[in-house]
């Protein structure tokens, strides 16, 4: 029988035993494969050479301030939630050299790095992560000033999403409308199904580029029962959300409550360490530094991840605008859940739960937003902090 030619929107099945052909097809097409793998008791993103490096038989359990790797009782490849890393590590690296310069007789000569950029194929991105990439696309490539480096990396990259078939304690993508099933932004999307002895992946074609990759993969047409089981697996994940964020009217509530007493309460617990912003797959703030040699003859200009939780972030002539932890936490959350809408037309949160999991003291953005909502209109709470509220909770 002749192999069917995959088209946009088609749903195929790749069996577990043939799953390696996806990797070889991507490698043949010249992609460097980035995917999840177990490293040092966590599921992190790394460059992979084979599908055997995927976290087969592993899962993760997340709660506020806690992440634990655990064994599964099956051999699922994508049977976990999300790890500490996200694709921003690759598309928007922590440090990037814009240019180098040499002092010449008549000023400076500037050199741009012209080396070839890698072509990434991200395998196993969760729906929330795909949406995070789409958000960063908006930040970096829409409008007048396009980030060339990001644009180039992004144009060359391919996304093979893996729909979630489970969720855990800090997931809330359902609240944000960003999962657990990837609806857009992918080239291929997989749903892993384990049904008794059967282990296969229903794959949906999301782009022509994805269809081309599938050309080199061993697949067959999906049977109705297989599609149904895949659908059910995603529905199961949707029912397992550990958290909920009530988004209705949240923008107005946050923006009209900059003086809520609750910000003081959060500030008592917040370490201002910046972890939430570092792990957030959409946070995009940077700082630019120049490095010179001792003689002052050569220089490089570097862009580095920054965080609104640092003092220097809001430093202008005369001092930092946001000197207190309270003002920084408020800035971060209000930007993410409210001001981002004014700026980019959507909230900056995809409900992945990383900021909750990787906060050393487990501060929960969904709970804090709920608390501000609860105190809304409570005039008595504004500016009058009772002694007991300063207690560390």
């Amino acid at each position: 029988m002749e192999k069917p030619k995959p088209k946009l929107g088609d749903q195929m099945v790749i069996s577990r035993s043939k799953f390696g052909t996806l990797f070889t097809s991507l490698q043949k097409a010249g992609y460097s494969i980035i995917g999840p793998t177990v490293s040092n008791e966590a599921i992190v993103y790394q460059e992979l050479s084979s599908c055997e490096e995927l976290p087969q038989g592993w899962t993760d359990r997340r709660e506020p301030g806690t992440y634990r790797l655990e064994k599964r009782d099956d051999q699922a490849l994508f049977g976990f939630n999300v790890g500490p890393h996200s694709p921003k590590k690759y598309l928007f690296p922590p440090e990037h050299v814009f240019w180098t310069a040499q002092r010449k007789e008549s000023g400076y000569e500037v050199y741009e790095d012209k080396s070839e950029l890698p072509r990434y194929a991200f395998v196993g991105l969760r729906a929330c992560e795909v949406n995070a990439v789409l958000l960063q696309d908006k930040v970096f490539t829409s409008g007048e000033h396009v980030d060339q480096h990001y644009q180039k990396l992004r144009d060359a990259s391919l996304i093979v999403a893996a729909n979630c078939t489970q969720a855990d304690g800090t997931c809330f993508c359902v609240s944000m409308g960003t999962g657990p099933k990837a609806e857009k932004g992918f080239d291929l999307a997989l749903t892993e199904v384990l049904d008794g002895e059967q282990h296969y992946f229903v794959v949906e074609v999301g782009s022509k580029r994805g269809a081309a990759v599938l050309g080199g993969v061993s697949f067959r047409r999906a049977k109705p029962k297989e599609l149904k089981l895949a659908e059910e697996a995603c529905d199961r994940a949707a029912g397992q959300m550990g958290r909920t964020l009530e988004t209705d009217g949240l923008k107005d509530i946050l923006q009209s409550n900059p003086d809520s007493v609750h910000w003081d309460k959060v500030a008592k617990r917040c370490l201002s360490c910046g972890n939430c912003t570092m792990v957030c797959p959409t946070c995009f703030c940077t700082t630019v530094v120049d490095r010179t040699d001792l003689k002052g003859t050569s220089c490089e200009r570097i862009r580095r991840w920054d965080s609104c939780f640092t003092n220097e972030f809001s430093y202008i002539n005369g001092g930092s605008v946001r000197q207190s932890t309270k003002s920084r936490y408020r800035q971060w959350m209000m930007h993410k859940l409210a001001n981002w809408i004014d700026q980019f037309g959507t909230m900056g949160c995809v409900g992945c739960g990383r900021c909750i999991t990787w906060c050393p003291v487990g501060i929960d953005i969904t709970q804090e937003a709920a608390a501000i909502r609860e105190r809304e209109g409570d005039q008595a709470s504004i500016g009058k902090v009772k002694e007991d509220e300063h207690a560390v909770t």
């Binding site: 890393h85 370490l271 201002s272 570092m278 003092n311 932890t325």
Partner: protein, 262 residues
């Protein structure tokens, strides 16, 4: 002929109560040391040379804390002879490990350690340099990061602000892709309240941060200690955690005293 020779700024290295580890970072610069020597005149650096050029000095690097009345006078002489004074390391910026004495009666130590304690002249407290004289810049760490030292000298030579972080170790940890040891393994880690600078070495070896670089810009030790307690850290251990290389840094000293009373 003499007009063709660039006058290099004079750099002096001064030692107070310390182990010499920080000033040795200058010698550790190896590859960069020759360029440093080309750009500055190393005028006083006993670890490297007995030759001493007279002051005044454009740049003084001060290592160590003040523990004797003699040193308490000497640091003023250093200040007077220096245009810029930069302290290097935990001893000079936060009293060092020797500031553990600040919580005890130093006479008990001298009588237990020395055969003839009457020969020992020492102050009750070990104090950082900025308790005695104005300091232009403080370089943290036990020991300092040699690249930071180069950066500070570099910034001084090129008349710009040094690119030295004041944020937490967590930011360095995340930027290098290390998985948080506290969240993923339940290991108590001082990273969230510690100044970056080491490159987050300990967490990358599955150990919690010991805070060699001292408190970060806004350390919320109260909230972190509360979390440590929930993780099962005893009050005694909390006292020890905050009392190490940066024991007399104000925030750490106060936090340790709270747990001493627990």
């Amino acid at each position: 002929m003499k007009n063709n020779i660039k006058r290099r700024p004079k750099l002096a290295v001064w030692k107070f109560a310390s182990c010499d580890g920080c000033q040795l970072s200058l010698l550790d610069c190896e590859d960069e040391l020759l360029s440093v020597a080309e750009e500055v005149e190393i005028a006083n650096f006993p670890e490297a040379s007995r030759a001493v050029a007279r002051g005044p000095y454009e740049l003084s690097l001060v290592e160590g804390s003040i523990t004797t009345s003699h040193d308490a006078e000497r640091i003023h002489k250093v200040r007077r002879a220096s245009k810029f004074l930069i302290t290097i390391g935990a001893c000079a910026t936060a009293g060092g490990i020797q500031a553990l004495r600040n919580f005890k009666d130093v006479n008990e130590f001298t009588s237990a350690v020395y055969a003839n304690p009457e020969y020992i002249e020492t102050l009750n407290n070990s104090t950082p340099i900025n308790n005695h004289v104005r300091v232009d810049f403080e370089l943290r760490g036990c020991p300092i990061n040699k690249y930071h030292l180069l950066e500070v000298v570099n910034a001084f030579l090129n008349r710009r602000k040094p690119n030295i972080p004041s944020y937490s170790v967590c930011m360095e940890c995340k930027m290098r892709g290390t998985t948080c040891v506290m969240v993923s393994k339940g290991i108590p880690c001082l990273g969230p309240v510690t100044n970056a600078g080491c490159g987050a070495i300990c967490p990358s070896y599955n150990r919690g941060c010991y805070s060699c670089f001292g408190p970060s810009e806004d350390p919320n030790t109260r909230a972190l200690s509360e979390k440590f307690k929930q993780m099962g850290v005893s009050s005694d251990d909390l006292v020890r955690m905050y009392r190490s290389f940066n024991t007399s840094a104000d925030v750490f000293m106060k936090e340790s005293m709270i747990h001493e009373q627990d």
